[in-house]
């Protein structure tokens, strides 16, 4: 662990601007050989963007990249791979319609002399990598048939098979079980011994402290600290991550929840590959209550919300609003009954990015502004202006395209759209994902205010602090099941984490 390890890659004053946000601001970052270089930061701090720049997926708006002392610019990820940089992406970049072996060797297929793909050889070599991961994945399986954790392992096998000099892992453990994480750490130790530089991104501090050699902290696109891991502790990392001002969760005001406003009974959603994505989940929510649903990636939180909103025709179970059963099966009429969803993926499900801020805000509630079939422009504008003010959406003119806003303001537009339908129950899926600190505080404050006004709020998150600070009660999901339900007073982080890991062993996965 000598500090004198050779620097293989260096970023100098790198910035990246997107439509809507400045993701990385003048970052200086060093990657050392034969070490695990840890990168931490909150959601939306710019970690993934920084890594995509190194991997050639994104090009920096400004700044230089030095690889082994020589300035390089990658115009595609292919360029970066050619220079020995591999990446395990956070969002899985796999082809579901192809086999595991085909995925591992995508773009560098092994061919015989005539140019025909040598399937046998590919599968043989793929199984060498897969065996090291001890996950029971056969190279001829279709990727879409694998569990999400197994898919992540395939992604890792793919990156390892590149024989990269620098290997970037963006939250590789987010969907892995404890046993699978151990295997991954063995693989990492092995790579390290062979002199590979590993860049490791994760949210789980205990993990980072265990395997990291150096640590770099990002906050709001800026690098706020870079240190040897053995010289720092958890407190130091947290301080760098959140700055002097701790997270602003907005205080609970101690109002008492009212009557039960929402109840779900025995919600089930079959998975295409067999088994249940949502497994007999029942829960109830009172007016003015915030119920946090904690769980890892793939735990079934989003799927549960989808079932409640009527997005899956084949889901079963009953839901009740204020004691009355909701028999309507389609989203449109469930919204009319008082349900509203703020989806996890803002770009793909929350916004129509080419429409204006105003059109997006009123999209779900147009019927409120209509007489006969005519949209009353005045009434609509008034509602838009009021919502923009209430949620403090920073926009010069509501006629602006929504894609020109920053992530946090876009999220507020999605929230505003849901609120304009005058819901009784609000479902929020990762409402603070990918937005800046200020907007986060606004979102949390809004949640508090809404609960005070008597709305029932169900919110899903994989952020432990968030669920602890905001919820009146905490439900934990794992593998589609509800594995824990805690009152805030009695909830401990340890108990929640333990519940979220239930039923996640590989043995369980094999049975299905």
């Amino acid at each position: 662990m000598s500090p004198g390890r050779e620097v293989i890659l260096k970023l100098e004053d790198v910035s990246k601007v997107y439509a809507g946000t400045v993701a990385v601001k003048q970052a200086n970052f060093e990657v050392r050989k034969g070490a695990v270089n840890v990168l931490v930061g909150e959601n939306g701090a710019g970690k993934s963007t920084l890594m995509k720049i190194i991997a050639g997926v994104e090009q920096p708006t400004a700044g230089r990249i030095l690889l082994e002392g020589e300035e390089v610019s990658f115009s595609s990820s292919g360029d970066a791979v050619a220079r020995g940089i591999g990446m395990v992406f956070q969002e899985l970049n796999l082809f579901g319609n192809m086999t595991v072996a085909e995925n591992i060797f995508a773009t560098r297929e092994i061919t015989n002399r005539l140019g025909k793909i040598d399937r046998k050889e590919q599968e043989k070599r793929a199984s060498e990598f897969l065996d090291r991961l001890e996950a029971g994945i056969r190279p001829d399986m279709l990727v879409e048939d694998l569990r999400i954790g197994q898919q992540q392992l395939v992604e890792i096998a793919k990156a390892v098979s590149l024989d990269a000099k620098i290997l970037i892992m963006d939250e590789p453990t987010s969907a892995l079980s404890a046993a699978e994480v151990e295997i991954l750490f063995k693989v990492i130790a092995d790579l390290k011994a062979r002199g590979v530089a590993i860049v490791y991104i994760s949210h789980r501090l205990e993990e980072l402290i265990r395997i990291g050699d150096t640590v770099t902290v990002l906050r709001d696109g800026r690098i706020t600290g870079q240190e040897e891991m053995r010289r720092v502790d958890t407190q130091w990392i947290v301080r760098q991550m959140i700055g002097s001002d701790a997270k602003d969760f907005a205080k609970a005001d101690g109002h008492q929840p009212g009557e039960e406003i929402f109840r779900a009974e025995e919600i089930c959603l079959p998975r295409v590959t067999g088994g249940l994505a949502v497994d007999h989940v029942s829960l109830s929510l009172r007016a003015g209550e915030i119920l946090g649903i904690y769980g890892l990636m793939g735990a079934g939180r989003s799927e549960l919300f989808d079932c409640i909103m009527g997005r899956h025709g084949h889901a079963s179970g009953k839901i009740f609003i204020a004691g009355k059963q909701v028999k309507e099966r389609d989203t449109t009429r469930r919204i009319q009954r008082g349900l509203a969803l703020i989806p996890e993926d803002r770009q793909r499900e929350g916004l129509v990015s080419i429409l204006s801020v105003a059109s997006n805000l009123t999209l779900a509630s147009l019927s409120r502004f209509v007489s006969l079939f005519h949209i009353r422009g005045g009434a609509e504008r008034q509602a838009v202006v009021q919502m923009v003010r209430e949620l403090a959406i920073k926009v010069a003119d509501p006629a602006q395209e929504v894609s020109s806003l920053s992530g946090g303001n876009q999220q507020k537009v999605v929230i505003g759209k849901a609120l304009l339908t005058e819901p009784k129950v609000l479902l929020m899926d990762e409402p603070s994902r990918g937005i800046d600190v200020g907007a986060k505080a606004d979102v949390f404050r809004t949640m508090r205010k809404l609960s005070r006004d008597g709305l029932g709020i169900l919110f899903a998150t994989s952020d432990l602090d968030e669920v602890m600070a905001l919820s009146d009660r905490i439900a934990v999901m794992s593998n589609g099941r509800l594995t824990g339900m805690f009152d805030r007073a009695e909830a401990t982080e340890a108990a929640i984490v333990a519940a979220s890991a239930l039923g996640h062993g590989p043995a369980h996965g094999e049975q299905r």
Partner: protein
């Protein structure tokens, strides 16, 4: 991807937005350009008689292009409109000549108004078939409407064994006279077909702008998943746009057979391509979510005036095709350039703000 440092490009941002405005008005500029060019190059081009004749030609394509615009905005395509034109013309011609034989010794004859309504309903019904194939059976719009293209054309040919229904004057004793009014009649000096175009265009533009349905059409094309989650009845919206497209095609079928006082089963072949061209020229984005009725009408006029003007100048019809093709390609290239420029301008502004 070009990496221009923010500072260096800042002064060009304002000239960029001027260029942007120019690009946004491109269809209008093109319209004025062809008008000016032909009024100099072709004698008699600006005479009232010629202008009205051209407008009548353009109107046919404009109807189809309006229907097509809504379809394309939702992210679909309707290849069947040309065949619907043909089939609806045959339906109208058949009803004028033969009425409906009830198989019990009676034959029912309809008056012209009833015939028009029935024909429009046939067009809407074929559109509904398109919509059902696409929404219920999940057939890709391209394939579904391609299939309907063949089926409708086949039925049009079957209806008369490939012959023309001639001389649709009708018989006074059966009350079937007056079918020529649609194609040849005039109100206040303007042909009836132009009046119909004005009414339908105003209606469509109103629908797009001031009704929830119009807003939903754009939302479905912009992001179908987000629209669905926001409670938009996506399937209903899609049904509507294909039915509206069928309705527009039926109008064209009626007007053409009324103009000719005859129905020919091959009428309308390749009309769908002209309609798509007009919509695209008018700024409708094939990837959905963008487009206006006004733009489409202007696009239809550019294409129509271009081909009529070239005819008047005596340019061979083969060259006309080449020129039309080039105009469409240039229009789309400019459209793409505008998008990129727009993105750049916004990015620059953001970079400057911080």
């Amino acid at each position: 991807m070009t990496d221009i440092p923010a500072k260096a490009a800042a002064p060009s941002a304002s000239s960029g937005s001027a260029l942007l405005t120019l690009m946004k008005l491109r269809t209008f500029i093109a319209l004025i350009a062809v008008l000016v060019f032909f009024s100099i190059a072709a004698p008699n081009f600006l005479s009232a008689a010629n202008l009205i004749l051209m407008a009548k030609h353009v109107a046919l394509n404009a109807f189809l292009a309006m229907g097509m615009t809504f379809v394309i905005i939702t992210g679909g395509i309707d290849l069947s409109v040309g065949s619907i034109v043909g089939l609806c013309g045959m339906v109208a011609g058949y009803l004028v000549l033969n009425g409906i034989d009830l198989q019990i010794g009676y034959t029912v004859y309809f008056n012209v108004f009833e015939i028009i309504v029935i024909t429009l309903l046939v067009g809407i019904a074929i559109g509904a078939v398109n919509g059902l194939l696409i929404t219920r059976l999940n057939v890709a719009p391209f394939i579904a409407t391609l299939g309907v293209l063949y089926v409708a054309r086949g039925f049009a040919l079957l209806s008369s064994d490939g012959r023309t229904f001639p001389n649709l004057v009708g018989k006074p004793e059966l009350g079937t006279t007056g079918f020529g009014f649609l194609g040849a009649g005039r109100l206040l000096g303007l042909p009836v077909s132009i009046w119909i175009l004005i009414v339908v265009a105003l209606g469509a533009a109103y629908l797009a702008r001031y009704t929830p349905l119009g807003r939903h059409i754009f939302a479905v094309g912009g992001n179908e998943r987000a629209a669905r989650i926001s409670g938009v009845r996506v399937n209903m919206v899609k049904m509507f746009v294909y039915m509206f497209s069928g309705f527009c095609a039926a109008i064209v079928g009626l007007i053409i057979s009324s103009e000719l006082m005859a129905s020919h089963p091959a009428t309308g072949e390749s009309f769908e391509l002209n309609a798509i061209a007009a919509a695209v020229l008018g700024g409708t984005s094939m990837s959905g979510g963008r487009g206006t009725i006004g733009g489409t009408i202007v696009g239809a006029f550019v294409i129509g005036i271009l081909s009529d003007g070239l005819v008047m100048m005596g340019v061979s019809s083969f060259w006309q095709m080449v020129i039309k093709g080039l105009v469409i390609i240039v229009a789309v290239v400019v459209d793409q350039a505008q998008r990129r420029l727009q993105q750049r301008v916004t990015l620059m502004q953001m970079a400057r703000v911080g």
